[in-house]
């Protein structure tokens, strides 16, 4: 009853707040009108009382920090203005980032300012104090902690693991569990079986000429930046005779990696093990010791698969050892990984493109797994459960009955960013501090120790996981910084002693350690801590053992149900971020909802009508093992038959206002024994229809010169196939003489994977507002940059080419001469300037733009859409104006960065250096497919790419002379399979 009260009080306060604010607006507006043009109240200036050391008003300060997703740390550089973080960039030196970021890193700054974050401690729904919680945490249970259980998210943070062991010392009998719905790393059991030690695979895609991805979406995982960059360096075909790698993909749904595949086989996930076995049978010459299991598995292929395997084997065999790589996805069972490792061994990749190292996120850290914990909770063997982070009540497997189990625990604490579903079931709720508000550390996938540095004091006085653990462990309350500092200093011979008041006093025996610490803080990570690469000795017996287990297990039949991590809201933890909810998902271009995906053949078989994307979609009820979920269906060409895939992370029911009621919760279908894919699902068509919001309604290009594609062979045959798309066009207009920098952009479609990190980066940099699902359906989305995914090839072999489309800053811009008030004109350095305060909103420019990249403020989005209000306004970039209602806006090539560089150059009396200015999208792109710079900087990649024969202008025939140049997409299909 109490929490309903809290709910009502919180909801009523929000409603009052809205009506009050609306009323105040009207009063102030009418007062201003009434007072005519008397000088309105002067604006106030509030200077500091003391100047903070490193804050210069008006100048950005940059801090190196890192962010842990799925436990792995990625080094970031955060831009802060007057003490508040506004933009996240990658740390160019950090091995896991190399300067790039993905959608979740860019959106993390919005999560910091999310108005729905938990603000106060509460006990059974009623407000409580931190001191009361501290008292509980200091003594959660009596005795050795037999009845104390801890549940944390898997993490690579040495500090967290140290504190967990401290808790275990104080309560030896307590047990710790690490759980995440989508682990995000390959199961260690495979390496344990094959090599005897729990090791993590280390891929070197930059030397792999053939990459085989068995249900492995390695280009779009939260730590995809390094693999994407390596894959792209090998993928880019430099001159027409250059080499290029070839990607084979086997996958159930249509993934980002699948869209870049040269040879793609859409198959249910359960058949991947058959293909792996067949490959092993063909490639491993040693006698089959698995008494027929291998032949039985390999024999179960249909003829398409047999042709695929035959061609793949021939291709792999023809390559030098160590120049190929076979990857199995984290969704596949451990045995398939054993087969994959075996294949790599057979191909001689061990030690070249595949090596191993210690696991950054140790799987074996936990004492028991979640089902065991759930059993104990049901049995009442748990008196106190501390859940720090995550959201098990929402994303625990459905068959564990987690919420009932939690109610069986007398006292439980949930600490999390949001008061989500788990908070409602737990006794205590404590707001967690955002990573940008805490000190902490973590390890990248290769083990590099990376620091998490706070950019701002905690907005709501929340605390970090390490502080809570320290209280439970009875450690001294010195704060995370001191712990980190002492963890850094101890191995270097520093002695730490507590002074009388319990605060730790450092005794610096060595000033060098202090300066080393300062350098570490400045860089954000320490390269020397990377795990050494190991080349362990495989044990053949494990392979036969895996084969027999696979053959014995019933592969399951009927409709397969695939649970995929959502490419935008991850596993549900980012479901309240408006940028990610409105981000058009790669390939599908669906926002604000998830859906069941299936192939046209499966849809026809199940009697589901095909509909246009703009029309309301049919709804189905998918049931599996007595559980059923309703949701809309989207038919995808290129999706595997007899398979229904669905994104996890939607249908949230916590206190997060934006996430509530968006999409449906697919976790309810997920059981513990089949977390990635389950067979035997049944689908029943429902009568009702459900409207979905797509930003791109048409997939084909209809012979327009937008995204040009070719094959490597054709490209080598006649390289200048794009000549007519860049030939000089006759024009009666005089040539405009530009001097000084000439800003331009080059985009290589071959290595654009469509991951849309650029879209979120642009949104963060330029204060692009969110419009809500209804307005996205009305065609009023505001992203300045959209990634168009066009379907290429026949329905059977559907492949997608992604084209980031933003303002092309045309030389003879069709939008400029139609504007009646000169609100959009051309600058001497080649920019198509959009002057927001001069625009009256006739929208003629948008009509005349052939690329349709102009966005219009149909309403005042900051008032009209709830997601733009509240503390998210703290994230606004002060260098860019927030546009008013009735004004056109578009990509400006990040003109605020260009002008800032120009001002710096003018002050330092020099020219703008090459590479000094980069746009937000070019900076974020994991594969560096977007390059920005000036045509006068000859040595940059941006200019060199334009000289390549496959470069062309999009829609060249319109004669607009765009400045953005694309490089046609080159595929490298296997000649036998085309």
């Amino acid at each position: 009853m109490a929490d309903q009260l809290l709910q009502i009080r919180r909801r009523r306060s929000q409603e009052d707040e809205l009506t009050r604010r609306r009323f105040l607006e009207l009063v102030s507006a009418s007062a201003a009108l009434a007072s005519g043009c008397s000088p309105d109240r002067p604006e106030k200036i509030l200077p500091y009382t003391e100047n903070p050391r490193d804050v210069t008003p008006g100048v950005s300060t940059y801090y190196a920090t890192s962010l842990l997703i799925d436990g792995f740390a990625t080094g970031l550089v955060a831009t802060t203005r007057e003490g508040r973080p506004v933009k996240i960039e990658g740390n160019p030196a950090h091995p896991a980032s190399l300067g790039a970021t993905n959608v979740w890193h860019q959106a993390s700054v919005l999560e910091l300012y999310d108005p729905d974050r938990g603000r106060a401690v509460s006990k059974r729904g009623l407000p409580a104090t931190w001191d009361a919680l501290d008292a509980f945490l200091a003594r959660p249970v009596t005795g050795q902690g037999e009845k104390l259980r801890l549940l944390l998210e898997p993490t690579s943070s040495p500090l967290v693991h140290a504190l967990v062991s401290a808790v275990k010392q104080r309560f030896p009998a307590s047990k710790v569990t690490f759980y995440a719905p989508t682990p995000g790393q390959v199961p260690g059991a495979a390496a344990r079986a094959l090599f005897g030690a729990t090791l993590a695979p280390r891929w070197d895609l930059s030397h792999a000429d053939v990459v085989v991805a068995l249900d492995a979406d390695f280009l779009a995982t939260p730590h995809d930046l390094r693999p994407a960059r390596d894959f792209a360096t090998r993928r880019r075909v430099r001159a027409s005779d250059g080499a290029m790698n070839r990607l084979y993909v086997v996958e159930p749904s249509v993934s980002v990696t699948g869209s870049l595949a040269d040879v793609r086989l859409a198959r249910p996930a359960r058949r991947v093990q058959l293909l792996a076995a067949a490959l092993l049978a063909a490639l491993d010459k040693r006698p089959d010791a698995s008494n027929g299991a291998l032949t039985r598995l390999a024999g179960a292929l249909d003829d398409d698969e047999r042709r695929f395997v035959a061609a793949l084997v021939k291709d792999l065999a023809s390559r030098a050892p160590g120049a190929t790589l076979v990857l199995a996805g984290e969704r596949q069972p451990a045995e398939v990984h054993v087969l994959a490792y075996a294949l790599n061994v057979a191909l001689g990749n061990l030690g070249a493109t595949l090596s191993f190292s210690e696991q950054a996120v140790p799987e074996t850290a936990g004492d028991q797994d979640l089902p065991a914990l759930a059993r104990e909770m049901h049995a009442g063997a748990v008196d106190a459960l501390l859940v720090l982070g995550g959201n098990p009540a929402y994303d625990a497997p459905a068959d564990l009955g987690w919420t009932r189990a939690l109610q069986a625990v007398p006292v439980s604490l949930f600490a999390g960013l949001y008061a989500n579903e788990t908070a409602r079931a737990a006794t205590w709720y404590a707001p967690l501090a955002h990573p940008f508000e805490t000190w902490g550390d973590g390890r990248a996938q290769d083990g590099t120790w990376s620091l998490v540095q706070p950019l701002i004091r905690s907005l709501h006085g929340a605390r970090s996981v390490t502080e809570l653990l320290a209280i439970v462990a009875g450690a001294p309350r010195t704060g995370d910084y001191a712990r980190l500092r002492s963890a850094f200093g101890a191995p270097r011979g520093e002695v730490r002693r507590l002074d009388e008041s319990g605060a730790e006093r450092l005794e610096h025996t060595d000033p060098a350690v202090e300066s080393a610490w300062e350098r570490l803080l400045a860089r954000g990570f320490d390269e020397s801590t990377a795990f050494p690469r190991q080349v362990p000795e495989p044990r053949p017996a494990a392979v036969t053992d895996a084969l027999t287990r696979l053959a014995a297990r019933d592969a399951g039949s009927g409709l397969e149900l695939d649970f995929l991590r959502s490419p935008t809201v991850h596993d549900g933890r980012f479901a309240n971020l408006s940028w990610l909810l409105e981000l058009p998902a790669p390939i599908v271009k669906l926002c604000w909802d998830n859906a069941f995906f299936m192939s046209p053949a499966t849809a026809a078989r199940l009697g589901i009508p095909a509909v246009e994307r703009s029309e309301p979609h049919p709804v189905v009820e998918v049931s599996h093992e007595s559980r059923s979920v309703r949701g809309p269906v989207v038919v995808l060409d290129g999706h595997a038959d007899d398979t229904v895939s669905v994104w996890l992370g939607y249908g949230r029911d916590g206190d997060e206002r934006l996430a509530k009621g968006v999409g449906f919760d697919a976790y309810r279908l997920r059981t513990n024994d089949a977390p990635s894919f389950a067979s035997g699902a049944s689908v029943k068509l429902r009568p009702e229809r459900y409207p979905l919001a797509f930003t791109q309604l048409e997939e084909r290009q209809h012979e327009r010169a937008l995204a040009l594609t070719t094959t490597l062979a054709a490209y080598r045959a006649h390289p200048d196939f794009t000549a007519e798309h860049k030939r000089p066009l006759p024009s009666i207009l005089p040539e405009y003489r530009f001097e000084g920098p000439a800003w331009a952009m080059s985009i290589d479609l071959t290595i654009c994977s469509g991951c849309s990190a650029c879209v979120v980066a642009c949104q963060a940099e330029n204060n692009v507002l969110v419009v809500g699902k209804e307005q996205v359906r009305n065609g009023r989305v505001m992203h300045w940059l959209r990634v168009d995914s066009y379907r290429v090839g026949s329905a059977k072999s559907a492949r997608f080419v992604h084209q980031p489309m933003m303002c092309q800053h045309c030389g003879d811009a069709p939008c400029e001469y139609v504007c009646p008030v000169n609100a959009t004109v051309h600058s001497p350095d080649g920019l198509n300037e959009m002057v927001y305060n001069r625009c009256v909103g006739t929208r003629f420019c948008s009509n005349n733009c052939p690329y349709k990249v102009r966005r219009f403020n149909w309403f005042d989005w900051s008032v009209h859409e709830r997601a733009n209000q509240g503390s998210v306004e703290l994230q606004r970039n002060p260098e860019v104006s927030v546009r008013e209602r009735g004004v056109m806006e578009k990509c400006t090539y990040c003109v605020q960065r260009i002008r800032a560089a120009e001002i710096r150059a003018r002050i330092e009396r020099r020219e703008i250096r090459a590479g000094e200015v980069t746009s937000a999208c070019a900076q974020a792109c994991p594969t560096q497919a977007i390059r920005f710079g000036s045509l006068t900087h000859g040595a940059t990649a941006m200019v060199e790419w334009r000289a390549e024969p496959r470069s062309y202008y999009a829609l060249h025939e319109t004669g607009a002379r765009p400045r953005t140049m694309y490089l046609a997409r080159v595929d490298n299909p296997n000649p036998e399979l085309t």
Partner: protein, 449 residues
């Protein structure tokens, strides 16, 4: 075949004066009052919806990206198109000395004025920030910024305001003698004073008539090219772009013909009921119906020929976007039904006017006229909206559908037009008295001679 005379019977001057100005001071008829009330209601609805759009934003309409222009610009082009027939009748036919124009030129000219008033509303309310509309005017601002005269929108602003001014002057100049007639013939001292002020003291002096005839002729001479230029400028809103379906050089003549075509249809739509309501069959005879119908047919055929040209050019250009817009988007795309409505109403229905029986039958001409105007509205719809829906950039393709605010504002302008027209019909002699007398005198002389 006996030619139905332009004027039936040989009424004397006094009879004509009384017949043609009686309606001004007679107490309003119930039908007129009812219609006025209804159209007044619609007009209020229009202003309410405009205020609602100004307070919330243009998002209330159905516009989106890529279809950034929809109902507002369709209605603007449709209304300004309707206006052109009025000027055409009163100016061009004056220069061609077509005697039959006399009895219908004033109310046609009034139709122009009120249509231009409706058309003028739309460019202002469809702006994103209408409170800065004055930036389209080259005034010396502290910002020292000027409008961009290479764009078609300042041309529109100049063309529409010039057209309204010239039409107003031309209409008022022709009206002065008749206001003098009412000033002298009407009962009620205050009514006569009001008309007297507007008649500017006109006393039919021969000295004035010499200047008057030249002024009237000069205005007619200027209005004729103005008609052609205004709708060419309006068509240049689309012709100067690079959109497939818009950027063809045929647009100016095509739009002018379309304008006069829908204008004549609106003249018929208004002429037939007025004739019946005010019992003026002997002044606005079936000969007028016949001639207006002939002109409607002529301009209709020009429009049909333009369709043919457009489709031929699209096919001949061989460009994928052009070909797709004409042969897929228009014919089978979303909203294609409106394209077929336009084809039926603009191509098939006017062919009925080949038969004189249809041309002379008031109800038949009225029906054809209304269908023609529906057709011309649909033509503007498919030209503007469907061309924008299926344009170069395939990923931005999106269908358009109007919202209730769109329909409300369009119906509001229809009501407001009718409201103004009814006021004109009642309080201004809508048939030029002196010209009809002159015509009656000429016919009488022909008859005797």
């Amino acid at each position: 075949m006996i030619e139905t005379p332009v004027l039936v019977g040989a009424p004397s001057d006094a009879e004509l004066t009384l017949a043609l100005t009686r309606s001004v001071w007679q107490p309003p008829r119930k039908a007129w009052l009812a219609l006025l009330g209804l159209s007044g209601l619609f007009a209020l609805g229009l202003f309410a919806l405009i205020a609602y759009t100004f307070s919330e934003g243009v998002g209330l309409w159905g516009n989106n990206i890529p279809v950034a222009w929809a109902f507002a610009i369709i209605n603007f082009v449709w209304w300004i198109g309707i206006g052109h027939a009025g000027t055409f009748i009163s100016a061009v036919l004056l220069l061609l000395e077509q005697s039959w124009r006399t009895s219908i030129n004033r109310f046609a000219e009034a139709m122009t004025l009120f249509a231009v008033v409706q058309a003028g509303i739309f460019p202002l309310i469809h702006l994103g920030r209408p409170w800065f509309a004055y930036w389209l005017v080259p005034y010396p601002a502290t910002m020292e910024l000027w409008p961009n005269f290479k764009s078609a929108l300042p041309w529109d602003a100049a063309a529409v305001s010039t057209y309204f001014t010239v039409s107003l002057l031309f209409w008022y100049l022709g009206l002065i003698p008749d206001l003098a007639v009412v000033r002298d013939a009407a009962p009620g001292i205050w009514r006569r004073r009001i008309y007297g002020v507007f008649a500017l003291g006109w006393r039919g002096s021969a000295r004035h008539l010499r200047h008057y005839r030249i002024a009237y002729g000069m205005l007619a001479g200027l209005a004729t090219p103005l008609v052609l230029s205004v709708h060419s400028v309006v068509s240049s809103d689309f012709a100067i772009t690079i959109l497939p379906g818009w950027h063809s050089t045929l647009f100016p003549p095509y739009f002018v013909a379309g304008a006069i075509f829908s204008g004549f249809a609106m003249v018929t739509t208004l002429m037939v009921p007025i004739r019946r309501l005010f019992g003026l069959e002997h002044v606005i005879t079936t000969r007028h119906l016949d001639n207006v119908a002939k002109f409607t047919l002529l301009t209709g055929l020009i429009v049909d020929f333009s369709y043919l040209c457009e489709f031929y050019i699209a096919w001949y250009s061989g460009e994928a976007p052009e070909y797709y817009t004409f042969f897929h988007a228009f014919i089978t795309g979303p909203n294609a039904g409106i394209f077929w409505t336009a084809m039926v109403c603009n191509v098939l229905v006017p062919q009925l006017y080949w038969f004189s029986a249809v041309r002379r039958h008031p109800i038949a001409t009225l029906c054809v006229a209304i269908l023609v105007n529906v057709g011309m509205w649909s033509e503007r719809f498919f030209l503007i909206v469907i061309s924008l829906e299926r344009e170069y950039s395939v990923s931005a393709w999106r269908a358009y559908s109007p919202t209730w605010v769109d329909w409300g504002i369009f119906a509001g302008t229809l009501g407001f037009f009718l409201f103004l027209f009814l006021l004109f019909i009642k309080y201004v002699p809508f048939v030029p008295v002196s010209e009809v007398k002159e015509l009656a005198r000429e016919l009488a002389e022909e008859g005797h001679a």
